[in-house]
């Protein structure tokens, strides 16, 4: 067969080192309308249908607006205000009215009424063209409601589906069944978008931010989605399909691993949603090195009670009967709106009251309830529980947190409730914690380096700010030395030390981390197989020589080049 003209590759941002081949399923795409029947319609009936659809669209938009304001922010919710105004635009109203007078059914009347303004905006540049997308969204919503066509059910997709969408929201991804879905690609979104983080946690091949071209891909087309190269290959060659199929077979190591000379290193995964637990196990993680508990508290009107939390923690522990689950106590601040908490409107929430600061101050009750649930789960769950405190900056804070644990244990004793005090640890995320590391380590069982925050706070380079991306690199000598100092402080005080953060998931840095002396590494589930392989191929002597050279380096460039020596 001759090479087809349509053979094309679209590019976006790849978010997982995975590829897969599958069949396109569009989620919420422009609906194509059949030509209207020749029979005439009753204008009055069609206008009523339009009014009903508009009511329903308004209700949907208001609900989505509210959800977005809660989950993401008031600013982002603003787009729904614009959609609501477009819905009520007099130009659309009169356009629909005159089209139904001309015997068009309501859905066709809507399509016609929107056609001119969409074209008008489309021909303008930049930001004005985005308004055309807003109008399309509103139009398609109305047509969907008028034709009764339903959105694809993300919870019930054919096996091997590659989901294509404008964007995927948290409520969308929460429905996706990773066993059925081969991967996904979106028109919008970047590496830090919700969809991207979700894909990494489930090791799903995904490409985000492909742009308008994606809309031209047809339903049921066969595509290769390559999260490594950031490509979506349309109508792929047999060769390309086989490559993708081979690439999706990962060499998963389910057993714990050790270096070539026999030092065992625990390789665990970070988890932010209970739905991720099975995926994490499937990638061969030994346990959970960072169990974020925020999901329990977000998106609701009142905090979860002790029993609900107990259930969640026990489920995680039962998933890893032979492993360890490290739970981080609630890490929340002014950047996340939680309706039932009195979160301050801070100018810089990342330097404000968050993490352990809130747990010891405004949220003490919440903190005690969480600790009660954790101590009970420690007694009943199958795996070993460990608990760590976020954003500790002083020894006093740690002492206060440990006293709270004691008080909770005493109370559970008095109530005759089964419980156990788990291993306790501190997250090292601030320069102050690095300098206080010996005294912190003396008081706990372990330290865990949170490299994303430690890098941000050490380099004064905000997460998410692209202009300072080069500074925000854990291989900057200053960050590397802070990490080395933490490891040393832990071991000198008989504590073990782990790392959770993106650095731990980079297989190219595994040897360096082994050389620095880490006992445990925790990362996105998707990188567990590669890091396990890197641990097995490293040798402690070579690794520590590597670490020594890296710590002598004066620049990031030198840190990187000596890696290959």
């Amino acid at each position: 067969m001759p090479e087809q003209m349509s053979r094309r590759t679209l590019t976006g941002t790849g978010v997982t080192p995975r590829a897969a081949v599958g069949t396109v399923v569009w989620y919420d795409r422009d609906s194509d309308l059949e030509d209207p029947d020749e029979t005439s319609v009753d204008p009055q009936t069609e206008l009523e249908r339009f009014e009903n659809a508009r009511e329903a669209a308004r209700a949907e938009l208001e609900a989505e607006r509210e959800r977005t304001a809660e989950r993401v922010g008031e600013q982002e919710a603003g787009v729904f205000d614009a959609h609501l105004q477009f819905l009520d635009d007099p130009q659309i109203e009169s356009g629909v009215a005159s089209a139904v007078e001309n015997d068009l059914p309501a859905e066709h009347a809507v399509k016609r009424a929107f056609a001119d303004p969409i074209e008008q905006f489309q021909d303008m540049d930049g930001r004005m063209a985005e308004r055309a997308d807003d109008l399309r969204d509103v139009r398609d919503r109305l047509i969907r409601l008028l034709t009764g066509s339903e959105r694809v059910d993300l919870g019930d997709l054919p096996e091997g589906a590659v989901v294509l969408a404008e964007r995927l929201t948290p409520s969308d991804t929460a429905q996706l069944d990773p066993d059925q879905v081969a991967g996904f690609a979106t028109v919008t979104g970047g590496r830090t978008s919700h969809a991207a983080i979700f894909a990494r946690s489930l090791a799903l091949p995904a490409v985000v931010g492909i742009g308008d071209e994606l809309r031209e891909v047809e339903e049921d087309a066969t595509v290769v989605v390559d999260g490594e190269t950031g490509e979506l290959c349309l109508d792929p060659t047999d060769e390309r399909r086989e490559e993708a199929a081979a690439a999706s077979e990962v060499d998963v190591r389910t057993d714990p691993v050790s270096t070539a000379d026999g030092r065992s290193i625990e390789v665990a995964a970070n988890v932010g949603q209970p739905a991720e637990l099975d995926g994490v196990r499937a990638q061969g993680a030994d346990g959970i090195g960072l169990y974020r508990t925020e999901f329990l508290f977000l998106d609701r009107q009142s905090p979860p009670d002790e029993d609900e939390q107990y259930e969640a923690y026990t489920t995680a522990l039962d998933t890893f009967p032979d492993g360890r689950v490290i739970v981080r106590t609630l890490d929340i601040g002014g950047d996340k709106p939680i309706p039932y908490l009195d979160l301050p409107d801070e100018e810089n929430p990342f330097l404000g009251e968050r993490g352990i600061r809130r747990s010891l101050d405004s949220d003490t009750e919440l903190f005690e309830t969480q600790l009660r649930a954790l101590l009970r789960a420690a007694a009943d769950g199958d795996g070993d529980l460990a608990v760590m405190f976020p954003l500790v900056a002083t020894v006093d804070e740690l002492d206060a947190a440990l006293e709270t644990v004691d008080a909770v244990a005493t109370q559970l004793d008095a109530e005759n409730v089964a419980h156990a005090v788990p291993e306790l640890g501190v997250m090292i995320e601030t320069p102050s914690a690095v300098f206080a590391a010996p005294e912190l380590a003396e008081r706990v069982d372990f330290l865990s380096v949170g490299t994303n925050d430690l890098t941000q706070y050490t380099m004064a380079a905000a997460r998410g700010n692209e202009n300072v991306e080069a500074l925000r690199d854990p291989t900057q000598p200053a960050v590397l030395r802070a990490i080395a100092r933490t490891v040393e402080a832990a071991h000198e005080n008989d504590a073990w030390v782990g790392m959770c953060g993106e650095m731990a998931g980079d297989p190219e840095l595994t040897e360096l981390l082994v050389g620095l002396g880490f006992d445990e590494l925790s990362m996105s589930a998707v990188t567990v197989p590669d890091v396990k392989a890197a641990v097995q191929s490293s040798h402690t002597d070579e690794a520590s020589a590597h670490a020594t050279r890296a710590l002598d380096a004066a620049t990031r460039e030198q840190v990187r080049t000596q890696r290959n020596e």
Partner: protein, 115 residues
Amino acid sequence: MSSELERVVTVVPEAGLHARPAATFVETVTDADSDVRIAHATDDDDDTDLTPAASMIAVTSLGVEHGEEIRIVADGPDAAATLDELERVLTTPEDELGEENATATDTDATTDTNA
């Protein structure tokens, strides 16, 4: 006696007269009893350029950017009050428009900025 009043206002929100500022603007116009029309402010103001301000499509398609001036003409019983309110909308920075917790979202690393 004509109740028609007009005013020239400089648009303060960074987004210009788009998205949320535009939505708030149109909502204010729809809530008013006066008839409101707008245009870019130019040296020789000509009433034939005026666009109905109750239409989101019409308002947005003017393409008014941050720092530009627009001319607002209100005609009706609450013309003065409507102009005051519209001026307030146009001179309020976007992050102070609407509800209270509109800050800090730009520092959240997991926010989908393309949404």
